[in-house]
């Protein structure tokens, strides 16, 4: 894994967890689609973005582990 990719991965996680634990509590809270408050939407569906990024990163990482049977 290149160092740049690892650093970008760490930065993504810092931002992600900062939004999920801290920023979400002070964000405005308009209703989306008439029923979904923005804060709830972030809490519920932002992890899907995280899942995609984690999946991509670890897929690349485990490609470097071909020798581990």
């Amino acid at each position: 894994m290149s160092k740049t990719v690892t650093i970008l991965f760490v930065i993504f996680n810092v931002i992600y967890f900062f939004i999920d634990y801290v920023l979400v509590t002070v964000l405005p809270n308009p209703l989306l689609f008439g029923w979904l408050p923005l804060q709830l939407g972030l809490l519920l569906f932002f992890p899907v973005v995280a899942a995609i990024v984690w999946g991509l990163y670890f897929n690349a990482f485990f490609n470097t582990q071909e020798h581990v049977k």
């Binding site: 992600y16 408050p37 709830l40 569906f45 995280a50 485990f62």
Partner: protein, 517 residues
């Protein structure tokens, strides 16, 4: 036939199915402790995903999370910690899995005892983990027992319900060990998800036919429960400090809970971790979103504000606001969450008692060769003993003892987190540091849970982990780690991960073969 009778018969059929499933593999699991406790380290990615995810969700998630959201708002969802458990399961779990393969580890204590080269530390950790597993399991069964009484309208008495629940869970594990637990967890994961979706669809179509969730939210705006849909919530609980405390309690330390920790050792290959990295957070989203919608939207819109017993909202919604069939499947969902957590925890307690206490102290330390069948037999006897202790606790419901112990279970389990992480990633983490950190963390958790209000708005667990970590680091810096430990746990593992060295795969079978030569 009365609905209560049909529901009781349904529960009986479910109980028989679980016990039968466990005892199907009784003979084959009797042969080796490797098979009984780790399913021969052969769980495929889908099974590992289901058994890990559903084991995290307890009966309290199904009943407690909607109640917590109804009381304190959507910030309660932070107990998933942004699905951080999934990230940690891969980051920490892959290294633990490599260690498990390399040195034959099966339990958290196996790893901690060896990494910190201390039998005393291992014994101490296994004792407090086993001790606090029992009240946690008891709480699952109490939740099931209470729900059965409500759902069957009192036809099945509480004592009978918890007795059946306890015996069924115990016999299921005694019969089939980890393999059986994992397969049943997979069934429970599908069952739990399916029933949650059914419950939501029914309640939405029945009570909000003209606009679904939008209609429900409009009702919330009028009935004074709209604050539930925002942070920090109606009681101001979930500001950022509350969110972090809740995430630490419910998510960040999850990976070191004994039953989740053990799952890092049972993966069949590294592919499990590759797939867990994206599938585990998605499975959390899939299962937890319906739970949140029940607590945040459906319950406040249907029940209104100030519902007297918020802990019962799911039971009340499914029994008083839905037909018997929905009540029955909701009960099955509770079983799914409760049984999956209880059986996994009991199995981990049995593994620690039999491998880390009995096998290690009676055989290994005395240089005797162990008989795998004997270890499995002992593990099953431990499960029987735990079954009886749990049965007494859930039947008598000694409120103070159980409640105190339950309050400490999660903070206590979490106290092995610093030792686990530093042991994996910091060469200088020493035995003295681990002991000082763990003991101080436990003491701080007790003091701040029962005697002193935790300062600055953070929970007892946050402070316990801070003190634990600080002491571990400071004491480790003042002490030395033997070179062979660094070579075994850092140089060797780093060489596998970063330099392409091959894995040895030392398991019970190979150890026994070596011993017999």
């Amino acid at each position: 036939m009365k609905p209560a009778i049909l529901i009781s018969l349904g529960i009986l059929a479910y109980a028989i199915f679980i016990v039968w499933h466990g005892f199907r593999s009784f003979k084959s699991t009797s042969e080796s402790s490797e098979k009984f406790f780790t399913a021969d380290r052969g769980l495929n990615p889908f099974i590992l995903l289901c058994t890990t995810s559903i084991s995290v969700f307890s009966a309290l998630a199904f009943y407690g999370a909607p109640a917590g959201i109804y009381k304190d708002g959507i910030g309660f969802y932070s107990n998933t910690g942004g699905m951080v458990a999934a990230l940690m399961f891969v980051v920490v779990g892959y290294r633990l899995w490599l260690l498990g393969r390399e040195y034959g580890f099966t339990t958290p204590v196996d790893y901690l005892r060896s990494r910190y080269y201390s039998d005393g530390y291992g014994l101490f950790v296994s004792a407090f983990l086993i001790l606090f597993i029992v009240p946690y399991v008891a709480m699952q069964l109490v939740a099931i027992g209470d729900a059965v009484v409500v759902t069957t309208d009192g036809m099945v008495p509480y004592v009978i319900a918890v007795a059946v629940g306890t015996i069924v869970v115990s016999l299921h594990i005694i019969g089939g060990g980890m393999g059986s637990v994992a397969w049943m967890d997979t069934f429970h994961m599908c069952l739990g998800f399916g029933t949650l979706i059914t419950l939501i669809i029914y309640l939405t179509m029945r009570y909000f036919p003209n606009g679904g969730f939008a209609e429900a939210v409009q009702i919330m705006q009028q009935n004074g429960t709209f604050d539930i849909l925002s942070c920090p919530g109606p009681n101001g609980t979930f500001n950022w400090k509350g969110m972090i405390s809740n995430a630490l309690t419910g998510a960040i330390a999850t990976v070191v809970w004994p039953h989740i920790f053990m799952r890092t050792f049972v993966a069949s290959s590294k592919e499990n971790f590759r797939q867990m990295s994206w599938a585990m957070p998605l499975s959390y989203v899939l299962v937890y979103s319906p739970i949140v919608i029940i607590g945040a939207i459906l319950a406040p819109a249907i029940l209104g504000p100030g519902f007297e017993k918020p802990d019962n909202i799911v039971a009340v919604l499914s029994t008083q606001y839905a037909p018997p069939f929905i009540a029955f499947i909701s009960l099955l969902c509770l079983f799914a969450f409760g049984v999956s957590t209880a059986d996994s925890l009991l199995l981990s307690a049995s593994a620690m008692a039999s491998r880390d206490i009995y096998l290690h102290h009676v055989y290994e330390l005395k240089g005797k060769t162990s008989d795998p069948k004997q270890v499995v037999k002992f593990g099953r006897l431990v499960l029987l003993a735990l079954m009886i202790i749990t049965l007494v606790i859930v039947a008598l419901k000694p409120a103070s003892i159980t409640d105190y112990a339950y309050k400490l279970s999660s903070p206590f389990f979490a106290q092995i987190l610093p030792a686990t992480l530093f042991g994996l990633f910091w060469k200088r983490a020493s035995k003295e540091g681990a002991i000082a950190g763990t003991v101080s963390g436990l003491l701080v958790a007790i003091v701040l849970t029962f005697f002193v209000k935790p300062p600055f708005g953070f929970s007892a667990l946050v402070w316990a982990l801070v003190v634990n970590t600080l002491l571990l680091v400071v004491v480790s810096l003042c002490t030395k780690v033997p070179e062979e430990i660094t070579a075994k746990y850092h140089t060797r593992i780093d060489s596998i991960i970063y330099s392409g060295a091959e894995l040895t795969s030392l398991t019970d079978a190979t150890l026994q073969a070596v011993n017999q030569k």
